[in-house]
């Protein structure tokens, strides 16, 4: 039998959910651990940075990196991990598409800081600084990156495994495939080419809708397509590895898996899915004002359509100097 594979997990700017997702495979974790040596897993095992630095090139067989590139030191660390790993897997939507924290790209790093440290309960005083003098000496902090970018804009990535976080069914497929040298896995093979709509138990009939309504104002019929009922659901634009977990329990898809395979821009996909049905009834007779009313009912297209994928979209970020 061949030697055990060495695998590592690392988190950058993350919520910790990707780490938890690994535990959510329950007992299967014991089988995985049996087959591999986990050399690095900051939330559950103690090995430290030096252990990684001391490693040989390519010593880690498969390195799973989650989280977004939010701090300068995230970048240093992933560059080091790339040197030590044969394969790098962008694990979770943050590393694949920039993720939810990518909404920060609608602002600038200075404004992100300013708001957080001037809330109504926060005292006056200096904001966090790169370097601070305390009476015993000097303390340092890493800085925020200008914008969040997908992992593959920093280092070469061998596989994309999106999800917020990836679900047990995805891991049951991905782990054996990625750990077996005989199995060929393409870079995007773990991204579904089916949308959430394609795997949703509710059939979408592409009904014409007058306008979008906030979900709190609608009593949804659980047997009927959510979008057909005039409530925004990201199903048409979102990769369906989740088997429509949220619509299945009566909640609209929020788009957390990012775009389907071979689609770059989740938001454009959603816009076109919506354009053909919204306000389409008697469209030719509508005044410009009425059309505007319909469009306004979307309320926050940027935040809603790109909630998890702004950094990998064609927009990527908004230039801070433009929104004064």
């Amino acid at each position: 039998m061949s030697e055990k594979k060495k695998i590592g997990f690392y988190w950058c700017g993350a919520c910790g959910g990707c780490q938890v997702s690994i535990l959510d495979i329950d007992e299967m974790i014991l089988d995985v651990v049996e087959q591999v040596d986990i050399v690095f897993w900051p939330c559950a095992m103690d090995p430290k940075y030096e252990d990684v630095e001391a490693m040989e090139e390519n010593e880690i067989d498969v390195m799973f990196i989650n989280g977004s590139m939010r701090m300068e030191e995230n970048i240093e660390m992933v560059e080091l991990l790339r040197e030590k790993a044969k394969k790098v897997v962008a694990y979770g939507s943050c590393s694949v598409n920039g993720g939810l924290f990518g909404l920060g790209n609608l602002s600038t790093k200075d404004r992100l800081l300013e708001k957080g440290y001037t809330t109504k309960t926060t005292d006056e005083g200096p904001f966090p600084q790169r370097s601070s003098s305390v009476k015993e000496g000097e303390l340092t902090l890493p800085e925020l990156t200008e914008h969040i970018v997908p992992l593959e804009e920093i280092i070469d990535v061998d596989h994309h495994l999106p999800g917020c976080p990836p679900l047990p069914n995805q891991l049951e497929e991905a782990f054996p495939a990625l750990l077996d040298d005989e199995t060929e896995v393409g870079k995007y093979d773990l991204v579904s080419d089916k949308s959430v709509c394609d795997v949703c138990p509710m059939e979408r009939e592409e009904k014409k809708i007058e306008k979008l309504n906030p979900i709190q104002n609608v009593y949804l019929d659980p047997e009927e397509c959510i979008l057909d009922q005039g409530v925004l659901c990201m199903g048409p634009a979102t990769a369906g590895m989740c088997d429509a977990a949220c619509p299945e329990v009566g909640h609209p898809c929020v788009g957390c898996n990012g775009p389907v395979k071979n689609v770059k821009d989740q938001g454009s996909r959603m816009s076109s899915a919506l354009a053909s049905v919204i306000g389409a009834e008697g469209e030719e007779k509508k005044t410009e004002e009425e059309v505007m009313e319909v469009m306004k009912s979307i309320r926050d297209p940027t935040g809603s359509f790109y909630m998890f994928s702004l950094p990998s979209s064609i927009m990527q970020f908004r230039r801070g100097d433009l929104d004064e």
């Binding site: 700017g13 780490q19 938890v20 959510d24 329950d26 103690d46 909404l103 966090p128 902090l141 329990v249």
Partner: protein, 487 residues
Amino acid sequence: MSEEKKISIDPITRLEGHGKIEIFLDEQENVKNAYLQVPEYKGFEKFCEGRRAEDMPNITNRICGVCPEAHHLASTKALDDAYDVEPPEPAKKLRELFYNAYIYADHILHFYYLASPDFLVGVDAPKEARNILGVIGEVGEEIGKKVIKQRGKGQKIVRMLAGKSVHPAFGLPGGVTKSLSSEEREELNELTSDMVDFAQFTLDLFKDEVLTKYEDIIKSDKLKTYSMGLTEDGKLSHTGGEVNVVDPKGEHFASFSHADYTDVIREHKESWSYMKFPYLKEIGWKGFEEGEDSGVYRVGTLGRINVAEGMKTELAQEEYEEMFDVLGRPVHSTLAYHWARLIEVLQAAEMMEKLAQDEDLESDNIRNEPGEPGSGVGIVEAARGTLIHDYDLTKDGLIENANLIVATNHNASVISMSVRDAAKKYIDGGNIQEGMLNSVERAFRAYDPCLACATHSAMGETPLKVNIYDSTGYKYKEVTQGLGGRE
């Protein structure tokens, strides 16, 4: 020449978030001071501006993947308040079930996966063994599998209601999206049937393996501060009621409802950490100090149990009484967080067992109609402590302003102080052993701190390394992993 030395522990592993501890030594090589730094930030308050209010439970649950349910519910409750709507009774019960399943799974995760390696395997054990697998080695595979299974059952219940256990989708202003089918309620009965037994097993394990062996530490390691937590009719609550504060002697200090939190809480900031330091406004910020004259307070399992007059369920009540009998009241020992945590596991198990019998869980009456958008505050007790979401909405129901004060934020000061005190006790500057550094981390872990939450954010990334600096800040020695040295 007098030389000051600095020790860094980074990252603090087995936490749900990255953190960094900097320890300064004086010329006698004793600990002079220690700083807990959180080196990461995300900026939720800013990028939530302009978002659709109803998306907030799904945006803010990404503050933390370990306690997404807490953010999800705090956010949902803030929306109830902002839209001036009360959910119907069955929706409240479904939220209660959802939340207890979370508390159950999360506390088990913390005790067995994150904290118990220090106790069951030992801080002096080789680092490869100080993890859940090492724990399984200690307690045996049968129990190990049981632990995994029980945690999984909590997650399963969350999934039943909310589609996903990490990043659930369930709460709406005025209600929830789903109730249970009769088949699902039957399954719930099955899932909850042995949770009480498991909770009691865990409490026994704690008493045998931790309490008896670490009694000295538990009884000596005290930090006398104010305590904060939610109570409902005086009983320990996670999801509703009013926030209570008791002083370091255990006397009532303040009670407030969600809308009035700004009257009681302010947040201090320091330029060397992305984490803010909340304090009691009336007392004021007096630095990292304990006692009645310092506004520092603690939240989380110990904060809650200190402010509660009792538990909501019978068996948990017995354990509550035993804990105070043994440790006195109020309890200030950092390591007692673990005991209080397991008492909450028992309460959650009893509550779910009872809820599973309730036909209301199958009701269709799970939503009430919201009013016009306004401002709202939602407060819940996350596993790690009081969690506050506060939103102002525009007339179109978009977020105009958000203020978030999360569990580990409230604890930021006490955690820093515990770390400092543990460093003073366990680190004899000239003699830095790995077990000693881990003891510092253990003090930290008792709080189950979620640094991701604390900076709506957060995690740092460097190594366990000991940097020794002279008084001018010049580094002349670096020791890795606290063992031996590398000049």
